[in-house]
C-alpha cells in the first residue's frame, strides 16, 4: 500500500505539471481539446491525491509498522477515531493533508465550472495547479509520508524492518476536538486558494475586476467559515486540554491562524464596496493575494518551527521551500498586477464621510492594523535578535494590550457600519438607527457601573456589546414588523421570512451577533479567578459560590492509557450540585501525560477543575480550580457565526414566492413572475 501511495503521489505530481504546462499552452493556443485535457489532468491530480491520502490512512488502520510515519504517530492500541487524526499529527502527513483538502476544493471548482467560463478557467486552472505542484513537490521529494523503515544488513544492503508496535500518538492530540480542529483550520487555509486563483486568473486574463469577486463569493465564505471554526475549535481544545485555564495564549501558531482570518474578514467586507459601487478593485485583489500569502505563511510557521511554540511537535527544516514559494507568489502577483493594473480601474467616489463606504474603509483599516501588529509582534523576537543580538520575547501581555483597544474599535464599527446608508447618511436616519441602541448601551453601562463593574476595558466592551446587539435586533424588529403588517404571520415567521429574502444582509447580522457573543465571553476574562491547593481526602476548597470536596481517588486502566481520576463533589451555596472527575492520563507507549479538565459550564461562568498531579512537596493530589466568567459565550458565539455564514450563503428567496404562498382568491392568477419592484423594499447588503 505504501508503494501504491507513493506511486499515486508521483503520478499526481506529473498530472499537476501537465495541468500547469498544458494550461499555459491552452491559454496561448486556445485549442479546445487542450483546454479539456488540462482540466481533466487537474481533476486526475486531485483523484490521485485522494488515493494517496486514503492509502496512508489504510496503513494506519492496518497497523503497518514498517512505515516510518505510522511508527512515529500511531500504535496498535490507538483507537480508530484517533488513527484518522494521526494523519495530520506530524509534518509529512499534515502536508499531504493540505494537498488532500486543496484537492477537494480544486476538484469541486473544476467540476462546477466544467461547462462554464471557458475563457477564464484555464487561467484559474493554471494557478491552482501551480499551488498543487508546490505541495506535491513537498509530498514527493521533501517530506514523503510513505518512507519505509530500513536498516543496513550484514550484507551491507538496506533491509526493510518492521516494528512490533508504533510510538503512539502524542497525548495532546488524543482528544475529540483534535480530530476536527485541524481539518477545519486547514480547510480555511486551503480554501483561500480558490479566490486567490480566480483573482490572479482574472487579472492575467485582463478581466476588469468585477467578475472574479462575483464568482468566488461563496468559496471565500466557505473558507472563512472553516477558518473561523478552526480557530475557535483550537481555542476550545487549548481550554479543555492544556489545563491552564485559558483559551488563547498568543502562541505564534495561533497568531498565524488568526492573520489570514483578519485579512479574509477585511476582504469579505470590502468586496461589497466593489459590488455595490465599483470601488476598491485594486485593494480587493491585493487583499486576497495577501490573505493567500498569510495562509501559506501560517502553514509554514506551523510546520517549520521558526518560532517556538506549543505546536512544536511539527518542527522541520522545510523553511527554505516555503520562503522560496512565498517569494515566488509575491513576484507573480506583483508582475501580474503591474502588467494588467489598468484593467482594475475603479470608480472611486465618495459623497459623504458619514456613509457605508467610509465605514468599510475604517473596518479594513482596523482589521489590517491588527493583522500587521500581530505579525510584527510575532516576528519581533527574530528581528530584535538580528538587530541587537538580544532575543526579546513578546508574549501574551503585549498582544493583549495592543489588541484589546483595536478589538473594541472594531466592535464599535460592527454596530455602526451596517446601519449607515450607502453614499450619504442623513442626520435623521442616524437618530432613527442609533438613538435607541445608544441609549440602551449607555443604560447598561450605568447599571453595570453601579453594580461594581469597574474593569475599564470589560466595561466598555459590555456597553458596546449591548449597543451592537440592540442595533442588530432593531433591524430584525423593524423589517419583521413590516412583513407582519402585510402577511399577518407571526413575528418569528416574519423575521425568518425577512432573513430569507436577503440572506446576505441578515446572515451578516447574525454573524455580527455571534461576534458580540464572542466579545461578551472575552470580556469575562478580566474577572478570572483561580486557586490551587494540596488536598487530602475530605478536604474542601472554596472558589466563588462553589465548594469542592475531594471525595476520593481512583485509577482506571484503559486500552491505551491509565487514568487517574479525582472524585470531586461540588457544592453550590452549600447544596450538593454535582460530581466532577478531573483526570490525569498516563499513556503507556509514549510515557507521556495528558490532562482532562473537568468543566461545569454555565452561561454565567465556568467552574474549571484541573487535577495537576501529585504535589512534589507533599505527595498529595493538587487541585487547581478556576472560575472563568462568561467563557461559554465564546463557543456559543462561534456556533452563531457559523449559522449566520451558512444563512448568508443561501440564495435569496424571491419575495414573489411569499406572495404566491399567501391565500389567493379563487380565479385570480397566482402572482408569479412579478418584478421584484412590487415586493417590499429590496434589501441591500
Amino acid at each position: 500500500m505504501d508503494v501504491f501511495g507513493s506511486f499515486a503521489l508521483v503520478l499526481a505530481f506529473i498530472c499537476a505539471v501537465y495541468a500547469f504546462g498544458g494550461g499555459i499552452a491552452a491559454i496561448i493556443t486556445r485549442h479546445p481539446l487542450l483546454i479539456k485535457s488540462t482540466r481533466q489532468a487537474g481533476m486526475a491530480t486531485c483523484c490521485l491525491i485522494f488515493l494517496a491520502t486514503f492509502s496512508l490512512e489504510y496503513l494506519f488502520f492496518s497497523d503497518n509498522f514498517s512505515i516510518a510515519y505510522v511508527v512515529s504517530h500511531s500504535n496498535h492500541d490507538l483507537s480508530t477515531f484517533y488513527k484518522i487524526a494521526a494523519l495530520w499529527a506530524g509534518q509529512e502527513g499534515s502536508l499531504l493533508f493540505w494537498s488532500f483538502l486543496l484537492a477537494i476544493y480544486v476538484f469541486s471548482v473544476l467540476l462546477t465550472y466544467r461547462n462554464k467560463n471557458g475563457e477564464l478557467m484555464p487561467y484559474v486552472g493554471v494557478v491552482m495547479a501551480g499551488v498543487q505542484i508546490f505541495f506535491l513537490t513537498l509530498n514527493n521529494f521533501v517530506a514523503s509520508p510513505f518512507k519505509v523503515l530500513a536498516s543496513p544488513g550484514a550484507d551491507g544492503l538496506m533491509h526493510y524492518v518492521a516494528r512490533a508496535d508504533g510510538n503512539g500518538l502524542t497525548p495532546l492530540l488524543q482528544y475529540p476536538e483534535m480530530v476536527i480542529h485541524p481539518p477545519n483550520l486547514y480547510s480555511g487555509y486551503t480554501g483561500f486558494t480558490i479566490p486567490f486563483a480566480f483573482a490572479l486568473g482574472a487579472l492575467l486574463a485582463r478581466y476588469p475586476g468585477e467578475k472574479w469577486i462575483h464568482l468566488t463569493r461563496k468559496w471565500t465564505m466557505i473558507a472563512w467559515m472553516f477558518q473561523s471554526m478552526g480557530i475557535l475549535l483550537g481555542a476550545h481544545w487549548a481550554y479543555a486540554v492544556l489545563g491552564w485555564g485559558g483559551y488563547w495564549g498568543w502562541d505564534p501558531v495561533e497568531n498565524a491562524s488568526f492573520l489570514p482570518w483578519l485579512t479574509g474578514t477585511a476582504f469579505l467586507h470590502s468586496v461589497m464596496m466593489q459590488e455595490k459601487r465599483g470601488m476598491m478593485k485594486v485593494w480587493n485583489v491585493w487583499l486576497v493575494f495577501i490573505t493567500f500569502l498569510l495562509c501559506i505563511l501560517g502553514t509554514f510557521l506551523t510546520r517549520s518551527g521558526v518560532v517556538s511554540s506549543v505546536h512544536a511537535f511539527a518542527r522541520s527544516s522545510i523553511g527554505a521551500w516555503f520562503v522560496s514559494f512565498i517569494v515566488l507568489i509575491i513576484l507573480v502577483c506583483l508582475g501580474a498586477y503591474l502588467k494588467n493594473r489598468d484593467y482594475l480601474k475603479s470608480e472611486n467616489q465618495l459623497d459623504s464621510i458619514v456613509s457605508r463606504e467610509s465605514s468599510f474603509l475604517f473596518n479594513n483599516l482596523i482589521l489590517l492594523v491588527s493583522c500587521i501588529a500581530i505579525l510584527s509582534g510575532t516576528l519581533f523576537p527574530v528581528f530584535s535578535e538580528w538587530i541587537t543580538g538580544d532575543r526579546i520575547s513578546v508574549g501574551a501581555p503585549f498582544f493583549n494590550k495592543v489588541n484589546i483597544p483595536i478589538g473594541l474599535l472594531l466592535l464599535f464599527l460592527t454596530g455602526v457600519g451596517p446601519l449607515l446608508a450607502w453614499r450619504k447618511t442623513s442626520t435623521e436616519s442616524l437618530k432613527r438607527n442609533f438613538g435607541w441602541p445608544l441609549a440602551i448601551g449607555v443604560a447598561a453601562g450605568v447599571i453595570a457601573f453601579t453594580f461594581g463593574f469597574r474593569q475599564f476595558y470589560s466595561w466598555i466592551c459590555l456597553i458596546l456589546c449591548v449597543f451592537v446587539a440592540s442595533t442588530v435586533l432593531l433591524e430584525f424588529y423593524r423589517g419583521a414588523r413590516v412583513i407582519r403588517a402585510r402577511s399577518g404571520a407571526s413575528f418569528m415567521a416574519s423575521a425568518v421570512d425577512l432573513t430569507m429574502r436577503n440572506t446576505r444582509r441578515y446572515g451578516g447580522y447574525i454573524v455580527h451577533m455571534g461576534m458580540v457573543f464572542v466579545f461578551i465571553g472575552l470580556a469575562g476574562a478580566a474577572f478570572n479567578r483561580d486557586i490551587q491547593k494540596d488536598m487530602r481526602q475530605g478536604d474542601t476548597l472554596q472558589i466563588g459560590p462553589y465548594t469542592l470536596v475531594l471525595q476520593g481517588f481512583e485509577t482506571k486502566p484503559e486500552k491505551n492509557y491509565t487514568a487517574q481520576r479525582l472524585l470531586v463533589e461540588v457544592l453550590q451555596d452549600n447544596k450538593p450540585t454535582m460530581m466532577l472527575y478531573p483526570e490525569k492520563r498516563r499513556f503507556s507507549t509514549t510515557e507521556e501525560n495528558g490532562t482532562m479538565v473537568a468543566i461545569y459550564s454555565t452561561l454565567k461562568e465556568d467552574l474549571y477543575v484541573v487535577y495537576s498531579g501529585s504535589s512534589p512537596d507533599t505527595q498529595l493530589p493538587v487541585i487547581h480550580a478556576y472560575l472563568n466568567p462568561l467563557v461559554k459565550w465564546i463557543w456559543l458565539g462561534g456556533v452563531v457565526v457559523v449559522f449566520g455564514t451558512l444563512v448568508a450563503m443561501l440564495p435569496n428567496r424571491r419575495a414573489v414566492l411569499v406572495l404566491a404562498a399567501a391565500p389567493q382568491p379563487v380565479g385570480q392568477p397566482v402572482a408569479t413572475g412579478l418584478p421584484s419592484s412590487v415586493t417590499l423594499r429590496e434589501g441591500h447588503d
Binding site: 477564464l120 478581466y207 472611486n348 459623497d351 526579546i392 493538587v622
Partner: protein, 172 residues
C-alpha cells in the same frame, strides 16, 4: 490610679500584640500576591513552556501546575520584595540573571520601544492613508464629470470592451 495605668498598659500591649498578629499573616499574603503580580511579567525559564512564571503550567507533564523553576523564580521575587525593591528593580535583577528573554512583554526602553510604538504607527499611518483616500474620493465626487487624475493607461473604450468580454465569457 496605678491599677488603671497598668490596665491601660496591658490593654495597649494586648492591642499591639493582636495587631501584629493580624498584620503578620496579612503582610505575608500581600507579599505573595505581589510576587504573583510581578511573576506575570517574567517568563518561566524552564524552557519547557513559554508562560509567565505566575501562570506556568506544563501541558503533558507529570505535574501540570507551576514547575520547580517557576516556583523558584517566584520565591526569588519574594526575597527581592522583602528587600524592599520596586517591581522595576526586581525585573532588572531577573534580566541580569537570564537575559532579555525573561520578559513576557518587551520592556518600554531601548530598542524594545519599537515593538510598542509600531502598532500606533500602523494605526496612524493607516488612518492617514484612509483620510487621504476619503479626501481624494470626495474631491473626485465633486468634479464628477471631469476626467480622473492619473488616467488609466488604456482607453475607456478598451476597458469597456474588456468588461463586455468578461461578462460574455463568464456566467455564475
Amino acid at each position: 490610679m496605678t491599677k488603671a495605668r497598668s490596665v491601660a498598659v496591658i490593654a495597649i500591649l494586648a492591642l499591639f500584640a493582636t495587631a501584629s498578629l493580624l498584620i503578620a499573616p496579612l503582610g505575608a499574603q500581600q507579599l505573595s500576591e505581589r510576587a504573583k503580580q510581578v511573576g506575570t511579567k517574567i517568563k518561566c525559564m524552564c524552557r519547557g513552556c513559554e508562560m509567565p512564571a505566575s501562570t506556568c503550567s506544563h501541558p503533558g507533564g507529570a505535574f501540570s501546575g507551576m514547575c520547580d523553576t517557576a516556583k523558584g523564580m517566584l520565591k526569588e521575587v519574594d526575597q527581592h520584595i522583602a528587600k524592599g525593591e520596586t517591581d522595576e528593580q526586581i525585573l532588572q535583577a531577573f534580566v541580569q540573571e537570564y537575559g532579555t528573554q525573561v520578559y513576557t512583554e518587551p520592556p518600554k526602553s531601548g530598542f524594545s520601544l519599537v515593538a510598542w510604538a509600531l502598532p500606533s504607527v500602523y494605526l496612524f499611518v493607516g488612518a492617514g492613508v484612509v483620510i487621504f483616500v476619503i479626501a481624494r474620493w470626495r474631491k473626485r465626487s465633486v468634479e464628477e464629470t471631469a476626467p480622473a487624475s492619473g488616467a488609466p493607461g488604456i482607453s475607456a473604450e478598451l476597458l469597456e470592451r474588456a468588461r463586455a468580454r468578461a461578462s460574455r465569457e463568464t456566467q455564475d
